[in-house]
């Protein structure tokens, strides 16, 4: 039995310990905010925060997060008012929106690590997250806005 804390709630899993965290979150725990985009850690749509680090849930197994704390988009802020979320809305970032949970989690992790990233640092830190709609200019601006106060 694997125990993992997700958004502050203890969850347990007695199935395949190698099950990717992504599918545990989405199909078993019903937390569908974390998205599947590639399954190979190439696109970042499944980004969640484990302890204080952004990880790709598609290549992280449930047993890898045993005893650790996982934060998904649903748990980032109780009212959805994390500075990154607010900045995202202020800049009108999303088009289709599908990649945005992963983008937001990646940006939130970046700001925990580096509260005032430069534009180059934002571009570097966010380069693992693909947006096929091409919202990059706004993503960059929103991360910058979140870092300077929304």
């Amino acid at each position: 039995m694997i125990k993992v804390k997700i958004n502050g709630q203890e969850q347990s899993w007695d199935g395949d310990p190698d099950l990717p965290l992504l599918w545990f979150l989405r199909d078993e725990a019903g937390l569908t905010g974390t998205k599947y985009g590639c399954g190979q850690a190439l696109c970042g749509a499944c980004t969640v925060i484990v302890d204080k680090e952004a990880v790709r849930a598609c290549i992280t197994s449930v047993k890898d997060v045993s005893g650790r704390e996982v934060t998904t988009i649903e748990g980032l802020h109780p009212n959805g008012d994390h500075p990154v979320q607010k900045a995202w809305r202020q800049v009108n970032v999303p088009q289709c929106g599908f990649c945005q949970a992963g983008q937001i989690m990646q940006a939130a992790a970046l700001l925990m690590d580096n509260p005032k990233p430069s534009h180059d640092q934002i571009r570097e830190a966010m380069s693992g997250n693909i947006c096929r709609c091409g919202c990059y200019q706004r993503i960059e601006n929103a991360v910058h806005l979140a870092s300077t106060g929304v």
Binding site: G15, D16, L19, P20, L22, W23, F24, R26, D27, E28, G30, L31, T32, G33, T34, K35, Y36, G37, C38, G39, Q40, L42, C43, A45, T72, I73, E74, L76, G80, Q85, W88, R89, N92, P94, Q95, C96, G97, F98, C99, Q100, A101, I104, I122, R123, E124, M126, S127, G128, N129, I130, C131, R132, C133, G134, C135, Y136, Q137, R138, I139, E140
Partner: protein, 770 residues
């Protein structure tokens, strides 16, 4: 075979391809099934409004009925139906916003409800062809005005005053003479009893009184849900007892399953069942390819189970499809005369007599859509009833196809439209929903079919592959006197009819036969090309290769004659005029020529605007270059200037992009900018990396590592968007797609300016490193 002459043979094709001359519509409309008033096409009478659109010719045409689209609750909440699919353009916000504007509803008290697939009730729902605003601006205004009028009539009756004395203002109706007011909620029950006013008598708002339209102040309705993970896409639908499925499909288009061994898959924890999926022979429109499904308690187990399957396929007739060999075929075909689709003057003679002939042969390979949400659908089939939840661009077509596939009446099928995690044309094909329906029927349980990214790339409906060969003949003064453009590419029609070797009229009308230059001798030709995989619509469709070729050729002519690219472009466009190509039934995106002519004044205007705002001719650092391109598509006009920087090692960066768009009358400039910014990224992706190639009939790429798209660290530093202010009666035109086509040629022209290297084959790949 010309499929346009055989529409009955291609039922369904008629419905989904933007082909003119569809008569089935008027019959369906005459049935008046909703009980509301269903308009005869065309919707807009020229007396009342300044333009007509092709909306009435779309399957099931347009329904203008406030009782279908608007409801007002006693608490004042106004619910407006969004009947088009939201894939990122903002349409789920902008169409209801038009209704709210016209009915004087307060947007903060409006809820948007997504329509299920029902074209008899809602009118056409095919969200493609950059058509939503252009077909629905006026109908949505009429719906809003009709609802407003009903509320006003109800208030006037309540007060016993003439309706002319009352006025709806911001969610209430006021009688200014007496100072009385009633909220929309208080009037809801009475207003519902009012008869729906005739469209001809409706008074639309003066645009100067607009509160929302053209202002760009309203965020998309799903913004909060998207940023908090609550937005529901197709993949997010969960039903009690739902099973999770992934499917192993034939690796070669048209291949079939010979045998399979499920034993190892069944040993994977969480896997419950392995079963065959019915397939259809190629081509068969959007019907499933067939294969073997692994059913599990979660998607992860299903994927792991599929990896363990032992499968034997018969690869079928396309087993030898090889992109290297196929390219040679296309190139050879482009060097010989082909079916002439436009002829003006005598291009052959003029080319022979020309002082100089410039030849460009341009290649663009297959592309995959790779929307961030791969295809996915949930189906729950019980007896002769089916319910579908899916991110589909064509809810009506999906309903139709599910009914046919299961052999049940269309009325027994409910298609719930979720948000689409990107579409780009891929989700106009509902094969994934059909797969889910077939599996659910057999399992007797709800099932979700999830495509992996590899599935999306291996088994999609790809953008065509093409060779575009242009020969331009110049006289002694450097004036272009002859133009021969041969376009060779497998047609989308090949996905509907075996043996198709020519482009369909709607493809010929995308930048080939509608070429706007003022040249005396023109020949546009379409040599034969057979398809060996499923070809489908991809955002901007044939405009991508055509604009790449035509606008690169402009750069080549400027290069050969030592002229400025922009001056050369304006010279070729020529005088401000209406271009009427010598083409029988030119497609024109399904729009009437009178309202949507090919207007070179507008084409010139976007070039001049982008040149001014984008500071064409500005001094750029060493290693940088500027390129320009313009293209009319989806009846909009767009010009782009790209600045590139290429370093000593051939590394390409894009410091700045400027784009001017004339999309006529518009609704939300903020979303227009967003679409154009995104189009630059998609244009850069396809130019830099975009290539799906085949060997032994199989796609060679598999995921985002070998089918790359642009990431944030290589995206343009800044993209500026300029929108041409429309005239008072300029019809609305497309926004979602037109931004893509001019990007690649502007980029390529910029690369030439920076490096002296002329790239004629996409993707750029490592060509700059050589």
């Amino acid at each position: 075979m010309n499929f346009i002459d055989n529409p009955r043979k291609l039922r369904g094709f008629e419905k989904h391809v933007r082909v003119e001359k569809i008569s089935r519509r008027s019959i369906l409309k005459g049935l008046g099934v909703t009980g509301g008033f269903v308009l005869a096409a065309p919707v807009m009478s020229r007396q009342a409004l300044a333009y007509e659109t092709g909306a009435g010719k779309m399957p099931h045409g347009v329904v203008v009925d406030p009782r279908v689209f608007v409801s007002v609750a006693p608490d004042g909440i106004v619910t407006i139906i969004g009947h088009r699919s939201e894939m990122g353009t903002g349409v789920r916000t902008s169409l209801p916003l038009i209704v709210a504007e016209e009915m004087e509803a307060d947007w903060s008290r409006v809820k948007v409800q997504q329509a299920h697939g029902d074209e008899v009730k809602f009118g056409n729902q095919d969200t493609d062809g950059s058509r939503s605003t252009r077909h629905y601006l006026i109908p949505m205004r009429q719906i809003g005005a009709a609802a407003r009028t009903m509320l006003e009539q109800a208030a006037a009756k309540r007060w016993g005053v003439p309706a002319t004395e009352v006025k709806a203002v911001n969610h209430e109706v006021v009688h200014s003479a007496s100072g009385r007011k009633l909220g929309f909620g208080e009037l809801a029950a009475d207003a519902a009893k009012e008869s729906v006013p005739a469209i001809e008598g409706l008074k639309l708002k003066d645009p100067k009184d607009f509160r929302y339209l053209t202002k760009g102040q309203v965020g998309i309705v799903d913004l909060h849900d998207i940023t908090t993970g609550k937005a529901r896409y197709g993949a997010d639908v969960r039903l009690p007892g739902m099973k999770y499925a992934v499917i192993a499909r034939p690796p070669v288009t048209g291949g079939t399953l010979v045998s399979f061994d499920p034993d190892a898959a069944l040993k994977v924890p969480g896997v419950e069942k392995v079963m065959k999926v019915q397939g259809w022979p190629w081509p068969s429109k959007f019907q499933p390819l067939g294969g073997v499904a692994v059913i599990a308690r979660n998607t992860g187990a299903a994927i792991k189970g599929r990896d363990a399957l032992k499968l034997v396929w018969d690869d079928g007739a396309n087993a030898k499809y090889d992109s290297v060999a196929y390219r040679k075929e296309l190139e050879e075909a482009s060097r010989k005369p082909g079916l002439v689709v436009r002829k003006e003057g005598d291009a052959d003679a003029a080319l022979k007599g020309a002082d100089k002939v410039i030849v460009g042969e341009y290649y663009i390979p297959h592309l995959a859509h790779v929307s961030m949400e791969p295809p996915v659908a949930v189906a729950d089939v019980k007896g002769d009833k089916a319910e579908i939840w899916a991110p589909v661009q064509s809810p009506g077509g999906t309903r139709d196809d599910v009914a046919k596939t299961l052999g049940i009446p269309e009325g027994n099928v409910t298609v719930n439209v979720t948000l689409l995690g990107g579409g780009f044309g891929r989700k106009s094909k509902c094969d994934f929903a059909l797969e889910a329906a077939l599996l659910s029927k057999e399992l007797g349980a709800p099932v979700k079919v999830q495509w992996t990214r590899e599935d999306d790339i291996h088994n999609g409906f790809l953008h065509t592959v093409s060779v575009e060969r242009i020969e331009a003949g110049l006289d002694k003064s450097g004036k272009v006197i002859a133009w021969r453009h041969r376009s060779v590419a497998p047609s989308i029609a090949s996905t509907f009819a075996a043996g198709t070797v020519h482009q369909a009229p709607f493809e010929i009308g995308m930048g080939l036969a509608d070429m706007p230059f003022e040249i005396a001798n023109i020949s546009c030709e379409n040599p034969e090309a057979a398809a060996h995989t499923r070809i489908g619509w991809f955002r901007s469709v044939s405009n991508i290769p055509r604009a790449f070729a035509v606008q690169s050729m402009v750069g080549e002519i400027a290069q050969a004659t030592g002229r400025d690219q922009k001056d050369m472009l304006l010279e070729l466009i020529g005088s401000p005029r209406i271009v009427k190509p010598a083409v029988k039934d030119l497609w024109n995106y399904g729009e009437p020529q009178d309202s949507y002519p090919i207007d070179t004044a507008r084409l010139r205007k976007v070039v001049e605007l982008v040149a001014e705002k984008g500071e064409w001719g500005r001094k750029v650092p060493k290693g940088h270059g500027l390129g320009i391109a313009v293209h009319r598509s989806f009846v909009s006009y767009i010009a782009t200037i790209v600045e590139v920087a290429v370093d000593d090692k051939g590394k390409l960066t894009v410091p700045r992009v400027d784009t001017a768009i004339d999309c006529g009358t518009y609704v939300n400039p903020e979303r227009i900018a967003s679409q154009i910014e995104g189009a630059a990224i998609m244009g850069l992706s396809l130019a830099k990396y975009g290539e799906i190639s085949f060997k032994d009939g199989k796609v060679q790429q598999k995921n985002f590592d070998d089918f790359q798209v642009v990431r944030i660290d290589e995206s343009p530093v800044v993209t500026n968007v300029y929108i041409v202010p429309p005239g008072p009666d300029t019809p609305p035109s497309g926004v979602g797609e037109p931004g893509v086509p001019p990007f690649a040629p502007a980029l390529i022209n910029a690369i030439f300016a920076a490096t002296g290297k002329r790239i004629r084959s996409l993707p750029i790949g490592k060509q700059l490193e050589a």
